[in-house]
Every structure is written in structure tokens, then in C-alpha cells.
Amino acid sequence: MKLNVLWMYHDVMDLYGDRGNMQVLKKRCLDRGIDITIDTCGIGQEKTIKDYDLLFIGGGADREQGLLYDDLVSRKQDIMDAIDAKTFVLLICGGYQFFGQYYIDNNNNQMEGLGIFNYYTASDAKVGRCIGNIEIEATLDGQTINIVGFENHGGQTRGVNHPLGKVIHGHGNEYQGGYEGFYNGQVLGTYMHGPLLPKNPQVADFIITKALAKRYGEVQLAPLDDSLENRAHEVMQKRMAGG
């Protein structure tokens, strides 16, 4: 089996170790004999997104995000085509915000989003920055999964119709908000860094399964030894529970 991944703005949206997600997908595929290719796409580079099984965009600093804005907007139709063609999309932080209606930064500059989804993001000086360890309970296509990570965002994302999960510890989309991320069956957006996937092998495998589905339909993944991953998850869960 083959899995083709497009990692967009790998050289600009590379804050908070989000690259780790790519390393996790790669190893978990290779260990199962899945032939994974991770292609990158920088500003101005020509790629046909719908040819890929998975599109990934990470988080970046405000200044850098501003610089790639025009390039991203020019790819809107291409991204919509990819979603129509069943490419799975994973978005972290800045990438997640971009897919909404708009983003208003600390200095009150408004940047239009791709407008693919209804949610919108604004910095809110009155409430604090959402920062710290986070634990959520997510429901992914009927499967309940506990996810741990680290969040660090000033933007408050509101108007999310389909959140990824319920917050157990931490903030999520909004300061003390109760819900985290976005998931509609094909696009998964989240504020969870850490990076997201190393301590959440179930999520990693879920994403691999979803991406493979584009070409191969329902696929059963071979189990891997996740004792280290599970222990890492458990340690953070216990810490957040105060135990």
C-alpha cells in the first residue's frame, strides 16, 4: 500500500515541533510495510493537492503566517478540490485557524481565512492566552479516544459546529471553553501541540486509516508495540488528574 502526504509550508509553519507528527506517521507506516512518501510544499511551489492522500499544515508565528497568506489564498480552489477528492486534512493551530472565516491578531489586524468552515478566530486581550497541558475526550467516527497534548494560543476560536472533543483538562478552542478542535469526518483541526501524535498513537493510526481510505477503502492496520507511547500518555494523564 502507498500513502502520499503533502506537508504544506513545512519551512514556515514549523513552530512547536509540529514536524514530529510527520515523523510519527512515517515510522508507523514503514513499520507496517506501508510505502509512505512525505512531500513538502513551500511558498510558490506548484503541487496538485488532490493527488495526495493526506494534507498537513502546522502552526507558525504571526509574522511568518502573514507572509504566506497570499500564497495560501491562491490555493483555495485546489484545497477544495482535494477535500472533494477525499484527501484527509490534518491542521494544527495556525493551519486550523486559516480554514475558518477570519483571524484577528493581537494588534487588531484582521486576516480573511479560506472560509471553508464557519468558525472564526480572534485574539481577546480580556481573556488569557490558552497555555498549558491539555487532555480531551474525542469522538472520531464513533470511536472514543483520550488525547493529551500542549496548547499555546492567544486566538479564541468560536463558532465551531463539530468540535473534535470535550476538554477534560485545559482550555481548547476558547479560554476555559470546554470544547477543543474541529472534526467533520475529513478535516481534523486542533490546537494540540506537543506534538500531537507521539503520545497519541491511536490518533496517529486513525489518521493513517482515514488517509488510506481514499485509495483503498476500509483498511485494518497491523498492531504495533505501543508500550512506550501508552506509558507516556498515562504519565501526562495522571499528572493532569493531580495524581
Binding site: Y16, R19, K27, A61
Partner: protein, 437 residues
Amino acid sequence: MRARITLCVVKISRFLLSLLGRGGSLPGQIGLKLDGQILQKITYPKEIILVTGTNGKTTTTNMVYRLMQKKYKHVICNERGDNLLVGITALFLRNTKLNLHVAADCAVIEVDELNVPHVLKRVPVTKVLINNFFRDQLDRAGEMESVVSKVSQALETFQGDLILNADDPNVVRLADTSKQAHVYFFGVDKNAESKEVSNEASEGKFCFRCNHQLVYAYYQYSHIGHFACPNCGFGNNERYVQASDVNLDAQSFVVENTTFHAPQDALYAIYNATGLIALAKLTDIPFTDVQALLETFELNDGRMETFNIGRKVLLNLVKNPTGANEVMKYIMRDPEDKDIVIVLNDNDQDGTDVSWIWDAHFDLLVDKHTKHIICAGKRAYDMALRLKYEGYEGDLIVSEGMEAAIDELKQLDDHAYVIATYTALQTMRKILRRNEK
């Protein structure tokens, strides 16, 4: 009167704390609490040198401290790295007489980047030395951009000497905004370690003035290197001091026909030393004094510090991707079999966000001669996963305690290295010292 009372209370509390074996910044905190204006009420030495930047602050500060002792009789310094406003307040008040004069003719202060505005507002600093800005503790400091802009704003009205690393675009931009300062650049020539491309997490890829992508003639490490903007020329600056003929194996480099010894065989150490030489030139301290200082300088505070636990162990602090990369490059220059202990904590001073380990090049450690890696600290499992997903195939051990990690290390017999984050460093030093033979 209030200032004098505050001063007395600070001195008494300092004395009482010293009886308890404590001290540090606490007297400074008390002083600021009693009189928020206390630093504006004392009389300062005529020379005050401020050192800031992301990496190498403590080492550079200690070198500058010793350098200034060649010129001044009584130099004071926060040489232990108490670099927040409270630590600096503690330093000055500790040395202030009841007539409100600081009893020193020169002060050298290490200042945390985010505290630079607070210090410059209160203390008549004469010289500022800045070596680099790297991505560091995003949870505390925010994005690097916001750190640099805070420092930049604080320097807008600064009228003293600004000594800047010409090879770091994030530092060079300060020259544009510090319109009232006298700017002096230092840099390092291309050498055997320089690279055409860089794959290390880097900031400031775009021109500060015109947003064009910067072009590098060569990289030294991370985003440090000879850069310029092809559009507006940002980065083309005359260097006041430039190091050439860098030879890391011989640990030597040349400035203006004088050969200097590098305190360590690493490029970041050459930059620290070159900044020091710029400062010496600016203060008319002869190069022979700098040569002598660099010949013997050792910090021994968990920066390349050695212990003997039956075999040699080298201990190093790491706190951000760039620092970690440089330490790992250093370790991997040892061609022998080795065992490495990595202690990763996530307390406030370490940065509560440990995702930076994924920005650092732990792939450097993946090598057949890296026999064992022992992970410890509050985030030991995160570290272990980092190495697993990098494809490390040696023996990967997770140790829940720091003491246990050293016990594990003692069972082995390869060349031994320990790297630790900030809050683990002093504990590791104590454990290693206890185990010394």
C-alpha cells in the same frame, strides 16, 4: 529617607536569609516591594555593561566580568545568572552603601531578554552586548518575534554603545531601530565548520525591512551566518571586529593579527569570545589581557563541566533547540562508544512546553557508537519517544529518577555524557559530585 529604610531592610533580610543558607533574588524582591522606585534612587558606577540574548549569556557575562577586572578596581556582577529584575535589584542593593552610592566602578549584568525593558528604564546602562536570538521557551516568552520587538522598543532611546552580532539577522535589525545608540558589529569568517545550507530550526528567514527571503553566503549554526537581503541590502554592515582563521581542532582564531584561544571547540564559543574582544577594543583593554583571559577561562557551572565517577562524565545544560544542537554536535565529535543521559524537565524555568525537543536535531545522536541513552526527568517518556521516532536503535532506557539514571550510567563503561534542562542541572551536579571518586 524611604530609600534608606528600604536599603536597611534589604540588608537585614539578606543577612537573615544567609543564616538560613538562602539568598539569591529574594532580597531584591523585598526591596522592590518596599519601594518600587528604589533603583532610581541610587547612584551607579560610571560603566554598566548589560549582556542579553538567548544562548551563552551566563558564559559571556562571566567572561566580561573578568575582562572588566583588568580595567576597573571594583567590578560587581550577577555571575550566577540571577537575570530577572529582582536579581539585578538584589545585586545593586547588596553593593549599595547607606549614602545610596553603589560601591563599584563597573557593573556587568546578565539580563533576561524580557527583563531588558524593565532594567533599561531604571538603570543607566552604558553598553549593551547581544549575541543571538533563538527560539526559546515559547510558553513563557512567546514567539521569538515578540521577544525581539520588546528588546528593540526598549533600545529605541538607548544612547550608549550597542555591540551586536553581525551574523544574526534578528540581532542586526536592532541597529535599524536603535537610532540614538552607537552600533558596533562583530562577526566570524567562513571556516571548516561553515555550511552552504542549514536544516536547523531557524527564525528570521525573511528580511526585517522588506520581507524578502534572506540569502546566506554560508551558515555557521542555526540561522547564524553571513546573510544579506538581495532586495534592500539589509545585513551588509561594516564589522568593528571580525574573527578569521577559525581552527576548531586547535581551538584558535585570529582577530587583527592576534591569535586567541577559544574556550571551547565550538563555533558558538568563538562568537562569545569575539563579542568579548569587541568589548575589549571599545574599552581600550589590550588584546594581551583578552588572550590571557581566554587561555584559562572555565565556567564550571554545568556548561561543559567534567566529573569523575570512575570515568569521566561531561555535563551540559540544554534549554532550546539551538543550544541542544550545539551540545549534541560537540558530543558526537567523540568517535568512541558512548552513553548519554538526557534529563528533560518541564518546570517554569525549563519551559513548560517540551515540544522544542522535536525542533532540535536529536537525529545527531542516532549513531552506532551511541550505545545507551538513558532518559530521565519529568518528561523522560517524551524524550524517549523523540528518540524512538528518530529511529534510534541502541539501548533506550527510561529512568524515573535522576539518581537512578546515574546509577544506570555507572553500570556502563563507555564515554559518558549528561545533558540536562535548567531545573535538573543543579540536581545533576550534586548527584555527580556525590558519586565522584
